[in-house]
């Protein structure tokens, strides 16, 4: 599916395109953000992870990484804390990493 889409702008999220005539009417309504549900696999630590990882972006952003190692997930969680100031306490990191790895792992520790 990759090739054909490149010719169009990556504007798949486009909600409304406005010409001068419609502008006033359309804009006054505002837009509705596109919403896509990304279900989480049920498992130990799901609710805790949900609260922590769905706060700033969708779960889809996480799933998009594909199955990864435990070390990968640990690094990612720490990056969210160090770089983007995610409010996750040190003692909660393991639980999130375990959930991610148990449900979205590739079987490799490192």
């Amino acid at each position: 599916m990759k090739k054909v889409t490149m010719l169009a702008l990556t504007a798949t999220m486009l909600v409304t395109s406005l010409n001068a005539e419609e502008k006033k009417v359309e804009v006054q309504k505002g837009i509705k953000m596109p919403y896509m549900a990304f279900p989480m696999k049920p498992g130990k630590g799901m609710y805790s992870t949900k609260g922590k990882c769905n706060m700033c972006h969708s779960w889809g952003y996480v799933l998009n990484q594909g199955p990864q190692s435990k070390a990968f997930w640990r690094k990612k969680v720490i990056k969210m804390i160090d770089v983007f100031q995610a409010p996750i306490r040190n003692e909660d990191i393991d639980e999130v990493v375990e959930y991610l790895y148990a449900n979205y792992g590739n079987g490799e520790e490192g």
Binding site: M6, L14, V27, G30, N64, Q65
Partner: protein, 321 residues
């Protein structure tokens, strides 16, 4: 992901210009469209991480294929003209750009970008139209910064604030993100990360085959027209070549007339007649006017952000009798 206003009233929208300027100004959308000379430019808009999923191990960022790009005709006004309205002070050296989006969590750094004044040129515009219509809302309505030749991390959407500074501003999304190793190959390994990095900025030469797509069935001995697009950071495409023998020999494709300018997609076509049945691999390789060309996919070297992938594209078609 960021907090984006779901409603922007174009009648009240304005861009604020302040910092090291003679007089801070607010320019309304209406004034932007009326009081400045409109200019148009056709330019590719491409994510620095386009095709990131081709890198292994997985670098940080969205794992997409080669679809994170497009080409459109942008209409707006020169950034230079807008800055002139405020008047740059002598010590002005950097321009900071900020849009209406905000980080979801207040402690996360905002998406603020900056351009060194010495890199300002006439083709950088503040656009209010894309392909003859107002900018689509999530593409940056009502105005967006257009930096032809640069990756899209610089193309700030819903541009609302321009601040001129005398020193290089410290910004997360300039100093830590959207960077590649500052060495000749712009490469590194996960165990040996480059100590110095530089901004991704100018797009490298790239091309993609749009037709046929992999898996397409084609007929032996019948004409097959291979089509695609090539582009670079604005030097212009000199040639696109096609190989059907795994890259041993290359034949030149026919390019369009180039009338869309050096920042636009340059479309190419190449006609071939598959001689044998079975799988046929078609590769495309672009070269720009500086002589820069694309590496084979397997020779592309890794970087931690998964940026600037430009490996030679290939498709595999089934030739049937």
């Amino acid at each position: 992901m960021p907090m984006i206003p779901t409603y922007i009233n174009p009648n009240y929208f304005s861009i604020k210009i302040d910092g090291e300027v003679e007089k801070p100004v607010k320019i309304s959308l209406d004034s932007l469209m009326r009081d400045f000379k409109p200019v148009e430019i056709t330019s590719v808009l491409q994510c620095g991480g386009n095709s990131r999923s081709a890198f292994h191990p997985t670098p940080g960022g969205i794992q997409w294929g080669p679809g994170a790009m497009g080409c459109a005709k942008w209409k707006g006004v020169r950034l230079k003209d807008v800055l002139a309205k405020a008047g740059l002070k002598k010590n002005a050296s950097w321009i900071k750009f900020h849009g209406l989006e905000k980080p979801v969590y207040t402690k996360t750094d905002g998406f603020v970008r900056a351009l060194e004044l010495s890199k300002l040129h006439d083709k950088i515009i503040i656009a209010y139209e894309m392909n003859g219509e107002a900018l689509p809302y999530l593409n940056g309505y009502p105005v967006r910064l257009i930096l032809p030749g640069f990756y899209s991390d610089s193309w700030v959407k819903m541009l609302s604030n321009i601040t001129v500074t005398s020193v290089k501003p410290k910004l997360h999304f300039m100093d830590h993100a959207y960077r590649v190793p500052d060495n000749d190959c712009e490469c590194e390994t996960p165990d040996n990360l480059a100590p110095k990095t530089k901004p991704i900025e100018e797009m490298n030469v790239n091309s993609l085959i749009g037709y046929p797509t992999s898996g397409t069935k084609v007929k032996q001995g019948t004409e097959l027209i291979v089509r695609g697009v090539a582009f670079d950071g604005g030097h212009g495409i000199a040639k696109v070549e096609i190989s059907t023998d795994g890259g041993s020999s290359w034949q030149e494709a026919v390019l369009d007339d180039g009338s869309q300018g050096p920042y636009a997609y340059r479309s190419f076509r190449y006609t071939l007649k598959p001689a044998r049945t079975g799988t046929l691999t078609i590769m495309a390789r672009a070269t720009n006017t500086k002589g820069e060309t694309q590496p084979f996919a397997q020779d592309v070297k890794w970087n931690r952000g998964g940026y600037k992938y430009n490996g030679i594209d290939e498709v595999n078609v089934e030739v049937v009798s």
